[in-house]
Amino acid sequence: MTPAGSLLIATSLHKTYGHTPALDSADFSIHPGEVVAVMGPSGSGKSTLLHCLAGIVKPDSGSVHYNGRELTAMSDAERSGLRRGEFGFVFQFGQLVPELSCVENVALPLRLNGTKRKEAETRAAAWMERLEVADVAHKRPGEVSGGQGQRVAVARSLVTAPRVLFADEPTGALDSLNGERVMELLTEAARESRTAVVLVTHEARVAAYSDREVVVRDGKARDMAGAR
């Protein structure tokens, strides 16, 4: 583990849902521009780790530091603000607002941050171009294919130029060709803008797009780079 120079560091996170421990003393760290795959069997606590790292869920104990600030000590509003401004998110499915057009979906994080509609949609269009989905800009999510929808979601996660991108099974609902393309575009864009990517996946071929992997088993995270 190399916390020095890390952008996001978590130490001994504990989180219990009901009686089931999801995280049991998990550690994690990521550098700017680094792509880290979080792997592990289902129910191992991968997603919980991501939620804690992103400040969506407060861990029962342990701390998360982002850029020198302690996330775990922030108020809900502060963490929300951080997520709007500095983090980006891609999920497996069900993340696009069905009634908004694709370009409006991509522009949404910018607009939540107070960017004017015109400018937000211009920037959104540029990102959609980059993710090869410019042609569906004015369609609704229900009218595009799964691969296109996921690319729209990736465009949305990157539109605010986040410092950290959290991707939870971003290709889970896609076939391998689409999945690979999405991963390629995602990691390429992230590396270019030195965005750190926390990539939760159980697929090795998706994890192969990372720089290193962390394995979560029984709520404990193991950095395999350090183990070697």
């Binding site: 939620h51 969506i56 603000g81 709007r84 983090f87 998110f89 994080p109 939540l112």
Partner: protein
Amino acid sequence: MSGQDAPAEEPRSRVSVARWAADLAMGGRFAVTGGRESWARTIMTAVGVGLGVALLLLASSVPTMYQQRNERGDARSSFTPSGEVKPGADTLRLANAGTTFRDQDITGEVMAPDGDGTPPVPPGIDRIPAAGEMWVSPALKKLLDSDEGKLLRDRFPYRTIGVIGDSGLSGPSDLAYYAGVSQKAFGHVNSSYHIDHWGLADKKGANEPLDPALLLLIIVGCVVLLLPVLIFIATAARFGGERRDRRLAALRLVGADIHMTRRIAAGESLFGSLLGLAVGAGLFLLAREIIGSIQVWGISFFTSDIVPSALLALVIAAAVPASAVMVTLIALRGIAIEPLGVVRNAKPKRRRLWWRLLLPLLGLALLLPLAGGFGTGSSGGNMKAYQAAAGAVLLLIGITALLPWVVEAVVERFGGRGSVPWQLATRRLQLSSGTASRAVSGITVAVAGAIALQMLFASVGAQNTEDTGQDPNRAQLIANVPVNDGDQARDAFARYRATKGVRDLLGVTEDYISDVRPSKDDPTSVPEEAITVADCPTLREVVRITSCKNGDVFLVDSSSYYGEEPGFAKPGARVNFAYRDDGTPDLRKKKLWTIPQSATKVKPRPDPTGSERTGIFATPGAFDIADLPDPGAAAMIRLDPKVPDGVEYVRNTSAALSPAMDVMRLSSTSQSDEFQVIRKALFIGATATLLLIGASMIVTTLEQLRERKRLLSVLVAFGTRRTTLSWSVLWQTAVPVVLGLALSIAGGLALGVMLLKMVGQPLAVDWAGLGTMTGVGGGVILLVTLVSLPPLWRMMRPEGLRTE
């Protein structure tokens, strides 16, 4: 994709009744056994339908309530239409002794038997109260025994000997009393009469056909209040439809065909609505108890009076489940339930305008020919009433049908501009405006109808609302004291002046004097003139004078007002103030008084009650009121605003002066009570409907939120503020409601104008009513949003991300 479902291959006639029953029963079973979700759906539907059914049952009880109440009211009436009853051994002398305590009206009679026979006993009591005794209604007894009624106790110098039974009351909260007084006490009563029986024996009035205009009002009123209830029931039958559709899709996968799924769905809603009937009956019983224990505008009902008419109850029991099933089947037409899921007919068809416009236009077409005049009693009045009612109903339903089109057309134009919440809301509405319009359509009917009726009542009421000319700034109360001579008048004024809360009092004593010889034109009559005696400050209030001192006399010539020959009352003229007992001038035993030469002619000034007095105005130094034969005394009282309940102290003083006297409150306008009540009732009815619609909007909103639980969690993940989503819920409710209100205001004004034209009233818009309805509409928007917020926030928790 649905080849096997082509009707040709499955002749419907072959679907036997047994299949139908089996599928319906299966649906019923699903409604119960489908796990928590279907239970929740069934309960929601049952409660929704139940609320509607309870309202319908209450509405169907109104005829009985009205009838029972009127019958008892008639039974205790002392009105004798056949004419005056001469006092006899078996008659009763009565005087109306109603009074007011704070805002509550108390009805009462003081009575004394005329002879030794058996005078009639009013319903609800055992015997005529002897002098000094009284019977009180339970509500009045309670009021008198309470701390609040302490002040009132002084007004009734009687011993309570019993409680009036239910048969003698219209409702449980009636404030009423029967008090016994001595025959002598009637000398202090302004007006009394004799009766030989209680109750209206002659009930011809009851069977008269309704006035066509009234019939029109009743029909429109029913449509206005009940159509939204029906719409609500229809909405309730669709609660949770999306989940049910998914469940049906699963059934298709294991082999059910489309017709079967429809029948199963029908069975589910049949079960829900039957349960709703039961819930409705329960709610009705509950409401019955509640209604029995409350009163609105002084009106209350006995629980036992609230019985639905059997026929109407039967119609409700049959129509509600039938319409629930129909609504379900119609709703299912728009979607295809396929084995792998529910397919909404790809692009919902654009709503067509023509037939939606046709309905209100047809309504207007029916109404327009009647605009010339209506209810003039011409032949075919009933036909016209039905034509008008049909027109009004078509117009109202037409507005409802127009609403979805308007919502769609307007929402279409929102190009995704505006803030994020606005964008989310309008885009949501663009995707499915039907749900929103359906919920709001109830509001539209209710508000449009309420506005139209309000206009009608406001206009009719405006005619009855007169400028009384009274000036409450100069005096707030006026008491007409029955006195036998001037001394008593003086005494009465003194007692009022000494009453707590009275700041100032203008006391005038009035009587008549006559000429000393009969009229030249008609030798049988003697010209008369009024004489008013009061001190200088008081006189200034009733005539325009510049200077006044005790001993002065002023003259206001009434002839110039009535265009008659100049009166006999001139300075220096001699006049007579002797009168016989029957109230005619007595020229045989004349008592004479000479109007001083110094008397000046002046102009009258409206007194605080707004009336202008004429005749002779004398100060006490010029004319001794003790000489007046049968004076009337009027005390115009100015209250001290700092003393609470000043009015009640004055009323108590009045009661002590005379057992049957009440004081009048002055106000600058007066309006007949019925119109106030009807307007309030309309307002309450419309508000209740709006609340009902609000309730169904809450359910739909929550349902929609639950469907999007995951999306909400995702939005939270990337940092969406609570306020953003809260505002979007607000806008999402507000846009359809505002459109609905706008449409209903337009429609309501149109219908109102038609109604006014029909009854030949001048056009007037009831802005206050419009404002109130708009306000209530806004309140509903707020309410729906506020109630939706806690669940919204609960669903915005990140736990939603884990449920996969």
